[in-house]
Subunit: 274 residues, 2 copies
């Protein structure tokens, strides 16, 4: 079984990509709605909450756990990985997005948008800085430094959860957030929040043809194929009966309603006490 953990609904965009690519696996999705959103919490609190929820998924027998929440990936992934030491395998969403951005960026001008918590953590900047120098794929000799431009977009999550995606107010707020990134001439933009794929078309339109938009949800799933190839034992261990379970720590009705919109299908949601 694969466990997908998120603070709320956002991780369902990751789940959606997984279901497209690997429909046969058994999945359990856990949204910690009782403590959502994680964005405004302190690092210590995100760590404590993530540990508790991952413990629960481990007890359910998950062989692979995806921390689908960018805030939890930024603040708590290392702690849970150190606790479980690969049993089970626990992966986040930041490194795959950074790798995809690094591969696709032409000039190394990379933008990142996310919640206040993710941007404040500096996690994307730190991962991107590891690459340091980018060799432009069009010209191997043209070395380009990676430059990172970050922008916190705290209003996008509430706007998306309210479902007012094509409202002029949403476009206005989005344009304000993206303006400094456009002015910086970024060639690649990482959507560092699993909610943002719901606005991906609008964001891509605003950023224009010269900017590649990378969803951390899509990147996380794209990265798993080579991972499975390198770890065939893991692939064998994951049960494959096409099962899906949706768990939340609070408000199952609201979760089913908004979650269904994220996933594009009706879902049954069960409340669990963790």
């Amino acid at each position: 079984m694969i466990g997908i953990f998120d603070s709320g609904f956002g991780g369902l965009t990751v789940m959606k990509e997984y279901l497209k690519k690997y429909p046969d696996f058994d999945y359990v999705y856990l949204g910690d709605q009782a403590n959502a959103p994680y964005g405004p919490h302190s690092r210590e609190r995100v760590e404590a909450l993530t540990l508790k929820n991952i413990d629960y998924l481990v007890k359910q027998g998950c062989k692979l756990i995806i921390v689908a929440c960018n805030t939890a990936s930024a603040d708590a992934l290392r702690v849970v990985q150190q606790k479980y030491k690969g049993k089970p395998v626990i992966l986040g969403v930041i490194v795959p997005a950074v790798e995809a951005a690094f591969k696709q960026s032409r000039f190394g001008n990379i933008g990142v948008i996310g919640t206040r918590g993710v941007i404040k953590s500096g996690a994307y900047e730190r991962e991107l800085a590891k690459y340091g120098v980018l060799y432009a794929p069009t010209d191997k000799r043209a070395r380009k430094e990676v430059k990172v431009y970050s922008q916190a977009c705290p209003l996008l999550v509430p706007l998306i959860e309210e479902g007012i995606l094509s409202h002029p107010a949403t476009r206005m707020i989005l344009r304000n957030y993206l303006r400094p990134l456009k002015n910086a001439n970024i060639d690649t933009l990482i959507l560092g929040c699993t909610h943002y794929p719901l606005l991906q078309k609008e964001i891509a339109r605003m950023m224009g043809k010269n900017c590649i938009v990378i969803s951390s949800a899509k990147a996380a799933v794209d990265a798993i194929e080579p991972y499975f190839k390198a770890h065939p034992d893991l692939l064998k261990k994951i049960s494959k009966k096409g099962g899906r379970q949706y768990l939340t720590t609070d408000c199952p009705e609201r979760f089913a309603e908004i979650g269904g919109r994220f996933l594009g299908e009706k879902i049954e949601v069960e409340k669990v006490d963790i």
Copy 2:
């Protein structure tokens, strides 16, 4: 000492009114930022969280506790009042706002705006329904039925916390929320969320001269004077050394920053584990 409890910063608008009217009292403000916002939580969770926080304020020796959060007042006030049976006195913000609206409404067409949680709870409707029939103060013979028009405004809290009060997107979203209330010709509008006084001028402007706007924060403080007159013992018991303490269960820096904006003065904030 007076305890003022809120899920986050919002209750500081209540505290501000208290400080204006009763600057000599000792105050402790407690914001449960670790679990904020309460709006999207289930009723059971709001009950459990409110109980825990009120227990803490009781242990600090508060003689009067104001549940300054509309969601907590709607979902959990009765439970905490039943637990403490008047020792200490615990008051909410809904009944005072309803009484103020009832007194000031000319025709009984009363609107309420609040978070999704407050509106869903039906608490304002229930309290207003107790009055049933309103006698118009201008003509004692003209009996008017109280009609209540409710509107959840879930995006106002994030917009206010981001401080983009006079942004065109905020005005656009606000206008959308207020349109059905304007169309219903309400003569009185209750701001059923302690964040909303920060938008009170804009709301009053949009609703026009024929609509009275009532802040639940202001109403809560206005209601306390007659309460003190009726309970002089309580007034004597409250310590009066002008002390102020600001406590939060998470993110003291962010609390100090946004809280200072709500209160209109710089504050020092201490983190507590509850």
